[in-house]
Each structure stands twice: as structure tokens, then as C-alpha cells.
Subunit: 301 residues, 2 copies
Amino acid sequence: MPSSNPSSIKLALIQHSCNEQREQNLKLIEQRLRSAADQGAELVLLQELHNSRYFCQTEETRFFDLAESIPGPSTELFSALAAELELVIVTSLFEKRAAGIYHNTAVVFDADGRLAGKYRKMHIPDDPGFYEKFYFTPGDLGFTPIDTRVGRLGVLVCWDQWYPEAARLMTLAGAELLLYPTAIGWDPADDPAEQQRQLDAWTTVQRGHAVANGLPLAACNRTGTEPDPSRQTEGIHFWGRSFICGPQGEMLARAGEDEEILLADIDLRRGEAVRRIWPFLRDRRIEAFGDLKRRYIDQES
Amino acid sequence: MPSSNPSSIKLALIQHSCNEQREQNLKLIEQRLRSAADQGAELVLLQELHNSRYFCQTEETRFFDLAESIPGPSTELFSALAAELELVIVTSLFEKRAAGIYHNTAVVFDADGRLAGKYRKMHIPDDPGFYEKFYFTPGDLGFTPIDTRVGRLGVLVCWDQWYPEAARLMTLAGAELLLYPTAIGWDPADDPAEQQRQLDAWTTVQRGHAVANGLPLAACNRTGTEPDPSRQTEGIHFWGRSFICGPQGEMLARAGEDEEILLADIDLRRGEAVRRIWPFLRDRRIEAFGDLKRRYIDQES
């Protein structure tokens, strides 16, 4: 662990809606970063693909124009803001690595503006309204935490949030905090009971990662309704509800559906205290875990 | 999957307190099994080590006298009850395998009385009041589901409930339902806020397994306060709160702290419907999961 690691950090999540104008989205994010810094934040987590509307509702080649190189214009902007505001910032960008190779990439800036590291989304969804397999090449950087002044950050992205393996691998590599930029919402055609089950499941599985790993966790989700560019569906109603929980999954702060800067103080020492009473990592039956590398264990019939 | 698999099953959990008299505990369980069958149950899950008090509060060699062979007197009794009542029964026994080799073993009886299979608790805890590493040799049967008339059961035991790996391996091996006999409670010396966090964490992490794997799940916990045989502590206040949830982690039934037969109908088809909208198993990055077999990924300093 970094020796400069503070015992407590103030974390801010910026939950907002996006429109079609990149410059307007960036202006809004810059304003909120300044506001978060004014409120004492030391670490800011942005939502997934915050520079644009969620373009994966349809498969259209023109949307690849939204991608940019890393480093590139966005990293220059966020690097400058991180240095000026002395903030560690976790961003989420549409990365153009080469013609035909694009990634959904979280880029972390340390509080001096240094590009501290990046994480390329490993698990890529594909279901109606979320056609990400068309746009994003699966990440090839593995599950590697990123060291910053505020600690070693286990940054994962959206669909990763459903995978206990991703959270565990970040934990085993020394992450002190799990962070998820995300963009998830309801299909307006689903009934209210199904919508509530989905929201609860999303919250529960991530709080479960916090518990299983004895780590604080935060998920920053977008909000607002975005129309389907193909006009085939009613679009997506992003549900907001960003949250920050502690290492027993206990809620520290939770947003509603509206735009919000969500703040919480996180005591990084509490994770170790919890692991002392619940030493799950001690007892893992690693010699019996080989089949976790299998897709499925087919039965002989 | 077994071809005789019904689409919906009625599951009962028998949550009770235990006293020092084995025969009284067995008599109570038999009464409740009959009651569950009268109420239409097809599958009954008992709590962990239901034949006795939770003897692991201290380390005393005399408690090994509670262990018995499998098959043995308990399996004879439960086999006969399963056949008579046409119930699939998941029991939890203290197994004597040999002098010096004892296991915490779940034994499953099919509705014709056949011993359908057993699972030896893989993850063994050891923390104040729960000195299980003294009593139980870690299981050596792996994470193998057990086929019964009501489906393929992924039976795990207590401390396993904190391990996403255990639930995932049962899922990959075709489990249709995750079942946890358990014995967990509060240290009366903890403050109410910590007690609530522990109960919530226990519930949340297991609901998270249901979500991550798209499977229904049930945990049957003991209740009642049991004194510390060594009189060094205030004992354990087992918190009850057995529950049954669906494949989105949605609560189907939940017990309070008192003794109860908890019933719920489980639709085994819903898991597949949920996996169609949330195809997590499709996208696991198995080629990047090798480090799950490591204890920890040590950093070079």
C-alpha cells in the first residue's frame, strides 16, 4: 500500500444527465468538479461515458467519431483540472486505440495531474438497448488497481459490476476501494415491480462485493431519459441512485434519481478492522477453485 | 438437468433453537418436518448442526462424542422420514469419518429416502466463539451439486455463504438452487449498530450470490441464545432471519427471530428467464481469471 495513504478520504460522485453536445457535458462536469473540490472532495468518480449520450442504444458506425485517443483532448482537460483542483479524478472515456479497435476505458488522474493509469472494461454486455459488443473491444489490461495519492483504486466499469470475479481479482491485487462508473437504467416498457427488482439487484450485488472483499465501494450512475436514436424503442430511463458503501456493505450515501454531487467520508482503516473479524481472505479454498476458469462444467448424461 | 424437474417447488426452512438433549432436538425436527409436509412442502432445508447446541463456542475434546458416522443413526432417521413424508430433506450433521477426521457435512435425502449425496463444508471459520478449525477437517468433496427429484441442489454450509467462488462453482456445475444450512449470531457484547451491519451484510452477500448467478437461494439459520460452555463470554445470540430469495435477489420469504417454518414457492423457470435478460455467464472473462487460484497477488515494493 502507498505509504502516503491517508486514513480517511472524502469521495464525491457526480451523477448527471447528458445531452448531445459534448462541450456542454464537459462544461457541466467541470463546474461540478469545482464544486466537489470546494466541498472538500479529494477523489471524484464520474459516471460511465460522461462526455456523451449513451450511444450504445443502437449500432451505428457514425458513433465511432465520438472516440478519442488516450492521451488526447479529454485527458488533457481532466489532467489540467486534477492538477488545478488537487483532485484524484476517475474518468470514463471512449478510447480510440486504432482504426477498428475501440475500448470503454476508465482513466485515472492523480491529484498532480499525472495520468495515473487506465482500466479497459473487461466484461462487455450486449442486450437490447445496450449493444456494447459492437462498439467496445474487450479490455486487455486485466484487473489491475491504480495507485494514487488517496490509495490504490480498483476501478471497474458497469457490466463488470455483476461479476464477483472482477471485484475479487482487484481485491487480491491490493485494491483499497472499488469504484464503478456505470450507465444503467430501465426499459420504460418494463413494469414497476420488475424495475424495482432490477434496481435492488444492481445495488445488492455490488454491496455484496463490498462485503465479500471487506472493501468500501462506490458506483456512479448517469440519470435522465435518453431517446433511442433509431426510434424503435422508448429509449432508456437511467436510474441514477449512485451510492457509496462501506466494507460491510453498509450505505454511507445514496443519491436519488436527480442530478447530484454525492459525498461521503471513507475510512480506509475500517476495511482492515472488518477483515480481522471476518477473515474471508484467509480461508479461500484456492486449490479447489480451478474450475472458475471454465465457461461451464458440462454434465455427462 | 433432471428430466423429471418440476417447474415450481414448495420449499420449507425449519428455523429453531436447540437444547442440550439430542433426542429433544430430533423430536422437534421430526414434528416440524411433518408439519412442513402437511403444508405441502416438497423440499425442506434444516439449519446447520441441528441435532445439538452449537458446540464450537469452545474447544473441548468431549464434543467429538457428538459426531457420528454417515450412514449412521441420523441418516437412518432422516432417510425414513424422507421416504414416509415424500420429502427431499437437506440435513446438516457432524460427521465422524475416522478417529481424528471429522467433517461438517450436509446430507441430502431424496423423497424416496435414498441418500442422494453429501457435501462437506469447504470453508471452515475460526474466530472468537466459532472455533470450527478445531472440530472440522476442511471438506474434500469439492463444490458438487446433488441431484434430487426436485432438482439439482447446490448445498453449501454457513461460512461458505461469504464466498462468491463457492456459489459460482455450484452454478457452473449446474445447480438450480443454492441452499445454506447455517448457524450465525451476534456477540451480545457488540453494539446494536454493529449487530445490524452484520445481519445486513450476511443477507446482502447471499442475495448477491443469487443475483450474480441467476439462481434462487435459501439460508436456514438457527435461533435462540446459547451459553458459552466455558463461561468466558456471554455466549451467542443466534439471529434467525432465515430467508428465501429469487434469482434477482428478491425476497420471497423471511423469518424473524423466533422459531418458524418458513415456506415459499420457487419457480425454477424464472432463473432461466432472468439469465436471458442478464446473460452474465456468457461474458465471464475466464482467460483472465487465473489469479483467482492465488491467495494474494503480492506487490513488488
